[in-house]
């Protein structure tokens, strides 16, 4: 089900723009000078900050790309205005990670109608015509991966207590993750005992975990949607002195992977949610604007949709992923 940008297969972060992959094809050779607008939600946690940073770094690697980076905002009204400004400016392509996919659809349509290709990253528009390319993490798949890992690890037991710490509950991506998690658990006869909400921040992770640990005095597995908040979750677990359960994380921060590698806590695995989506989006946008195609595909156009894979990282395979990991 997954398609992937070439770089990930080699376990080699292609974040240095044109250099690393240069021999792979001609795509990274300088083309027409283009301007790309990039807008994302407020970089209020590591994953989101990494989205912006990696995009910026990739853009810096291309001499032919001028990146217009605007202040991340969680106000759709402000984000709409940013895109409108891009349209007024007549940029060559727009990479958009919407705070709210549906709400940003009209203005994305407007951009497309104005002839500016839009690359939609992570949070999906509700109209397929609003984006030329959609780069998606697999949120539902993330939940499924986490659930399947637990099912495997549990080895058929069914009276297990499972906790879940969500990210911001009102985001569709959170609901997708929880849905995937519940569905996968259902396959092996398990269900979530208690679900609490955090806000992708360490502080909210601590608060949510503290209370969850009270609510579930005995627990077998805990899935935490996000490794940024996971820092706080782990601190709360230590504070409570609990270690009777196994925890699986989400997103795949460097710190978490190091911890998995060291095997020094309840954290045994994490499900990757690539923070390089923005950078991928930028690369595709560049190709679109310069009329190129993806090198490794036979197809002469940039594909319509790219969905990134959500692998589970454990102590066994952590080395493979450690380098692409973001710092939370």
């Amino acid at each position: 089900t997954s398609n992937d940008d070439s770089s990930d297969d080699e376990g080699n972060p292609n974040l240095d723009g044109g250099n690393s992959n240069a021999e792979a094809g001609s795509n990274d050779e300088a083309g027409d000078k283009i301007v790309i607008g990039f807008s994302a939600p407020a970089a209020d946690h590591g994953w989101m900050a990494s989205i912006t940073d990696s995009t910026e770094r990739v853009a810096e690697g291309y001499d032919d790309v001028e990146l217009r980076l605007v202040e991340g905002t969680n106000d759709v009204n402000a984000q709409i205005s940013q895109v409108e400004t891009f349209i007024n400016d007549g940029v060559d392509a727009i990479v958009l990670l919407p705070f709210d996919g549906a709400a940003m659809t009209p203005v994305a349509l407007q951009a497309m109608e104005a002839g500016i290709p839009v690359v939609n990253v992570d949070r999906e528009f509700d109209d397929p015509n609003a984006a030329r390319v959609t780069v998606l993490g697999d949120n539902y798949g993330m939940g499924v991966s986490a659930g399947e890992w637990i099912c495997n690890d549990a080895g058929g037991e069914t009276d297990l207590v499972i906790g879940e710490i969500q990210g911001i509950a009102s985001l569709p991506l959170t609901q997708d993750r929880s849905q995937g998690f519940a569905d996968a658990l259902g396959e092996c006869g398990l269900e979530v005992a208690n679900q609490v909400e955090a806000q992708f921040t360490p502080e909210s992770g601590t608060d949510a975990a503290t209370n969850l640990l009270r609510a579930l005095p005995e627990m077998d597995y805990l899935w935490n949607h996000d490794d940024d908040q996971g820092v706080g979750v782990l601190a709360a677990i230590e504070e409570a002195g609990r270690d009777e359960f196994k925890m699986i994380g989400g997103a795949g921060s460097k710190q978490v992977m190091e911890s998995i590698k060291a095997d020094d806590s309840v954290l045994k695995a994490t499900v990757i949610y690539p923070s390089t989506q923005g950078a991928d989006g930028l690369k595709l946008a560049r190709l679109l604007a310069q009329g190129k195609a993806v090198d490794d595909l036979v197809e002469v156009e940039v594909p319509r949709e790219v969905q990134l894979y959500a692998p589970v990282v454990t102590a066994d395979n952590v080395d493979k992923y450690l380098e692409t990991a973001f710092e939370s």
């Binding site: 605007v70 007024n88 009209p106 009102s170």
Partner: protein, 373 residues
């Protein structure tokens, strides 16, 4: 004016025989001999202060201060971003993005002038947007007329405002707390109704046809902002409602003793703010085609900041719609200039904080300079 005075100076009104019926109480007043006042008693100050010292003038100088700030930002924008900034399209973009904040800030101006504060406007806008776009309501709107969802939104906003107003005016809960509770509750209700999902309103053809119009090349949402601002200005400055708002905010006890129904008036102010939030919800729907419980987060703080920067007194009793509109434009133009100049996000916020403070200080400086001259 002058004739009526000469009429009276003949002294006939001192005739006390028909004392029972007095058409004009002024007639009944004792006369002061003109010689007295001419002799000396006019305070030296009185003659001097005919041009200064007027309340309206102070307001005027504050507005001048704001215009200066706005022009400075425009200047910086033009220098740094040239045509990209100074273009009709860009100005329309600025105005479109001002619409939500502007509409809410007009309502907030009334509440603050009346001595209150409303932290719930953003959450109420979210609630109204969600409530108006439920499947059921969209169905009714399609069966009847698209304006049905306008009606629903306005009713939700007014209802939330009414609850705020009643808690504050009759329940004597302090406004900050009552509206903070409403903030929390309204957003939670919006989440419950929408089940945390975006509610697409794309099928409401009539609604989007209406908001898609551009009379004189200007978007409908901008017209809505303009109309709200003008109506707000007239209401505040030219009607008894506005006059009462100043009185209630300036000294509620004195207003009450002057015969104003302070509680009812206070309640109405929050209803007004709620209706403005509902209009903002319509703008959200028009611009995003969705109703969502996450609309308008932190909108209340921006609105209060814009209102206060505009020169409305946070303690109540003094308020200006013109200032509020300028405050809103300062905010949105500033953001626009940042966007055009590609500044890193954190720097933008740092500068935004500085500009807020600078705007307030500059206003005070201009006003105080004018006062001492």
């Amino acid at each position: 004016m002058t004739d009526s005075r000469t009429e009276r100076s003949d002294g006939s009104s001192l005739d006390k025989n028909d004392g029972k019926h007095v058409a004009d109480p002024v007639e009944a007043l004792p006369e002061v001999e003109p010689t007295d006042s001419s002799q000396s008693t006019i305070a030296p100050a009185a003659t001097r202060n005919s041009t200064f010292g007027r309340l309206a003038d102070m307001g005027f100088f504050r507005i001048v201060g704001l215009v200066v700030v706005l022009l400075l930002i425009v200047l910086v924008g033009t220098i740094t971003a040239g045509d990209r900034f100074f273009a009709t399209d860009n100005f329309l973009t600025i105005l479109r993005s001002s619409a939500v904040l502007g509409v809410v800030a007009v309502g907030m101006t009334f509440v603050i002038t009346g001595g209150g504060i409303d932290l719930s406007v953003g959450a109420v806008a979210a609630l109204a947007s969600v409530w108006a776009t439920t499947v059921a309501n969209q169905q009714i709107a399609q069966d009847t007329h698209w304006s049905f969802i306008v009606l629903v939104a306005v009713l939700v906003g007014a209802g939330a405002g009414l609850v705020n107003g009643i808690l504050i005016a009759y329940g004597k809960v302090v406004a900050f707390i009552a509206t903070l509770a409403m903030l929390v509750a309204a957003r939670a209700l919006a989440e419950t109704i929408s089940d945390n999902r975006n509610q697409s309103a794309r099928e409401l053809r009539g609604f989007f046809d209406f908001f898609g119009q551009k009379p004189l090349g200007i978007d409908m949402v901008i017209w809505l902002f303009v109309v709200v601002a003008i109506v707000g200005w007239v209401l505040l400055n030219r009607t008894t409602f506005g006059r009462r708002t100043f009185a209630v905010g300036g000294n509620p006890e004195a207003a009450r003793l002057a015969g104003i129904n302070v509680k009812r008036h206070t309640t109405l102010l929050y209803v007004l703010a709620g209706v403005c939030a509902a209009l903002a919800a319509l703008i959200y729907i028009a611009r995003t085609t969705t109703g969502s419980s996450s609309h308008g987060e932190l909108l209340e703080l921006d609105a209060i900041a814009a209102v206060v920067i505009g020169g409305t007194l946070l303690a109540g009793g003094r308020g200006t719609i013109t200032g509020t509109v300028l405050g809103v434009l300062i905010f949105t133009t500033l953001t626009n200039v940042f966007v055009l100049n590609n500044r890193p996000p954190s720097e933008q916020d740092l500068l935004k904080g500085a500009v807020i403070v600078a705007a307030v200080l500059l206003q005070q400086f201009v006003a105080s300079r004018k006062r001492t001259t």
